[in-house]
Symmetry: C2
Subunit: 215 residues, 2 copies
Amino acid sequence: MPPPAPGDREARRKDVSEAVWHVLADKGFGGLTLRAVAAAMGVSTGMLMHYFPTKRALITHALDLLEKRTAERPRRARPAAGLATVRAILLDILPLAPDDTARNRIWVSSWDLSLADDGLTTEQADRYTRLRSAIRPHLDAARDLGELPAAADPDQLAAAAVAFTHGLVVQALFDPGRFPQDVQITMLDDFLASTALPRPDGGSRPAPGAGARSY
Amino acid sequence: MPPPAPGDREARRKDVSEAVWHVLADKGFGGLTLRAVAAAMGVSTGMLMHYFPTKRALITHALDLLEKRTAERPRRARPAAGLATVRAILLDILPLAPDDTARNRIWVSSWDLSLADDGLTTEQADRYTRLRSAIRPHLDAARDLGELPAAADPDQLAAAAVAFTHGLVVQALFDPGRFPQDVQITMLDDFLASTALPRPDGGSRPAPGAGARSY
């Protein structure tokens, strides 16, 4: 078979990435093999060895793809300073729609791999540091706006917000019936409301778990 | 070689479980192979095939072992009704000591496997349901004791507490230097304090992230 023309090569590369994503969303990194990707594409594993000469090359491609699709996903507008922006950032993480569910499922799957490899552990720790750092200035702003108590520690609150969100992701992946979209959103709003001061307009602080949104 | 005597068989079975645990704590389910367990024991893979004729048998043993060691782990006393008991339950989950870290690392690792298998997904969803149900009566008691607002929803609060705790587990596994024991405990206390009402003795509600413990 002659080598494919450049346009074909690009199309084929996209097909390969799509098949890798499909296998990851279905079976996770634990089920990511050349054989599974080849089956998803209806090609031979020999053909795929051209793209991925080693298992390691396949995994590296999968991790890059996960990073790329996460960076390029559609995001909510960041409407205002303070807690409203923290809310938007965290809503962009939760598995509220099918694409978000697949992406989260693959991230959770990647933790097993990352914990077993020192380099990947460091990369994931750095990813968490960046996520907390992205949230942090909006918590500073929330404090300046009087949404949070003056004594609040934005670093620890950012870590708590990420913890709450990722723990909710995991529960929702295992039991989507118990955690449909509206339940996840209500829980996030309750979490944020519980960290906030009562509103200056005299609205009372909502009871935790009661589903009120205070900002 | 003659078959081992019954006492030897039991000792050998314990050695096998110890080796499986060692491999899981180091490499996760993604690195759990007959070869790795055999290497950890210094025996042949052929010898291990006697215990685990299939990869599936090895995985089933590993999951049973994880369940057993989790059930049998030492636990804090449950000192009092209400939030103090919720605190003890959640402290028993966090990776505060090396054994807890290994166990959590293996649980997080198991999620990739469980998400890829319908039966294991159901088992993990049921495990989450049981954990929330174990916390729930203590939140009811906390509400009755006036530690929580009367309008609080204990079901959603139990889910939020589990979410926060497991999300903190994951961050701490990846970055133990950022989340040493005292930081984890402070974050948990802040989380619980943020859901609580101000104390009836007039103690003010602590600022979130400020590390105060209010009960």
